[in-house]
Subunit: 380 residues, 2 copies
Amino acid sequence: MNDPGVGLNVRVDMPAPPMHGYDVVVGAGALDGLATRVRQAAPAERYALIVPGDIVGLHGARVLSQLRDGGLVVDMLEFAAGEAHKTRAVWASLTDRMLELGLGRDSAVIALGGGVAGDLAGFVAATYMRGIPVVQVPTTLLAMIDAAVGGKTGVDTEAGKNLVGSFHPPRLVIADPLVLRTLSPDELRGGLAEAVKHGAILDADYFAWIAGNAAAILELDAPVLEELVSRSVRIKADVVMEDPLEAGRRAVLNFGHTVAHALELQAGYRLRHGYAVALGMLAEAAAGEGCGVTEGGTMERIAETLHRCELPTSHDIGSVDGLLSIMRLDKKARRTRPRLALLERIGVCARDPAGSWTFEVPEADLTAAVRRALHGGEVV
Amino acid sequence: MNDPGVGLNVRVDMPAPPMHGYDVVVGAGALDGLATRVRQAAPAERYALIVPGDIVGLHGARVLSQLRDGGLVVDMLEFAAGEAHKTRAVWASLTDRMLELGLGRDSAVIALGGGVAGDLAGFVAATYMRGIPVVQVPTTLLAMIDAAVGGKTGVDTEAGKNLVGSFHPPRLVIADPLVLRTLSPDELRGGLAEAVKHGAILDADYFAWIAGNAAAILELDAPVLEELVSRSVRIKADVVMEDPLEAGRRAVLNFGHTVAHALELQAGYRLRHGYAVALGMLAEAAAGEGCGVTEGGTMERIAETLHRCELPTSHDIGSVDGLLSIMRLDKKARRTRPRLALLERIGVCARDPAGSWTFEVPEADLTAAVRRALHGGEVV
């Protein structure tokens, strides 16, 4: 060691996997057992219950007293509801309020609400004193079957959605389908588009089941909602377990989403996410058919199911060129060419010969596909 | 699945450990091979080189052209130097500049500078699009042997230091002791206090070696600096590997730091961190002796070594009660009683009968220890 220039090369290995497994509990009435389950899965000296203002009356107060009755020490922190508040400023202010309350490293966060609450409160937990546990309690269909499972947390910036965040898996997810009966029809349909996607990419039986039960779902039939959430959660969980950090296969969950994000951006986020996903699936199915990856007729089958779910199947996109240039600017795209997750057929996602779960679709094919799928509503 | 109330309990297991191992390369001249090593350990389409303004001239420009000469696509991002700028605002602004430059998920961060640069740029990387790789290139002794190894990243808030952050291990650490020859004597001594701590907690031989080589270290003798950095990095890496997320044993690295943090806060951060650690080790050694955990004479041996290193061994703390009330308010303390990492003797840290690496020291003993160790300078 005393010879100059010899130095040292230390290998720092990380023996303990810091990501842990967690339970996703789906059940009508599951919320009633919340305190006991939270205490078991995320024991902590104190809890911050983070809730958007618009559901404090509907769910927040009830959950707060139930947790306190169960012996937990809980402070409820409200934030202004809506995607517009999923920002670094709100994240910082929630963090500061927890610091003022004196919550230490032995605290945990409980995120109650839709996808915004889960992403935002999850990111607060991910970065509070370098990470404290979070329990996700989703109250919308979209959050139950998508955002709450998988560990993605984050906030939006001026430049785009979810550009700042962490992977921070929850210690527990509690999804109580009875809560869905408080949703507006629009909110329910928005979530349903993601369920259709789960069937389309990985489970043809489930895809058919949704089409056959669309009316019961829209009528908020409790056992049917429970089956819907359970089957979607199972699919999402399987994909996440195989690829927790989105290194490869998890990309299949993006089916429909590349076009959907461009549609949302083009509409200044006045288009509901689930509706954009419905339209995006049509366009990406058409793109897959156009370049010979996807079985012919797939787009029409998706359109049929979306129609039964009362989801949109056509859209006035204005300029197709404008939409494509938004996709070229996607901040997360490799270089500047968008890559799409495509289907082989309903229930089976496609993999390219090199093993990738995404495809680079030639721009001309993409333009033709968007025209065919969305322009003028000729698909239904 | 159709019976109401049956529901589902999905276990989401995480098979792939998302934390990876990494190399810490210590060597005189190691910086010259930076481009090749970065390309191997953190291959990326583009790189953000994050550098505090005060070393852009000294190191930043040279490293930038070297990386570019090596064929990497690099943008250099400056931020205003100093702990006062280790904030969420600067983190957000660095993130936004990377977004404006169009850096995608296939980018990586290179953090060049002292502990502030490493913590801040590391946190930018940890949260950029849910995490991109970071390479740590520390330029101070303190950063080389402490902050750069172990994966802690974060920023300060009004409420205290490092309260917001993540564990985000680097892909590579390059420590070139030749860089230390540009440090001021004060900066070098500040880092040296952490090296003394490494010897004190885990390696009596190293502790004695530092005392014996203090003059050569302070004269910036290259081979001696290389041995210093190598031995400290080895110790830090061993502790981090055993306890990557600071769940237990890693607490031994906090020896001296509970009192040190209180001293820094009391001085409004006008006291250099390394100097506070030097004083903190004396006080905590005295506390350990006072409650019978630490071998008698340990505090004096530490004082002797600090003296040879030209580090402070006495301090006008004003009110001891004031210092203790700051310690009671420590945001990271369990409940409100500070727990200290204590020595058994030089080179061996103490473990309590229950297996914990920290001890709750009665307040009266702590008061007496601070008085004995720091008041009036009677220890040297």
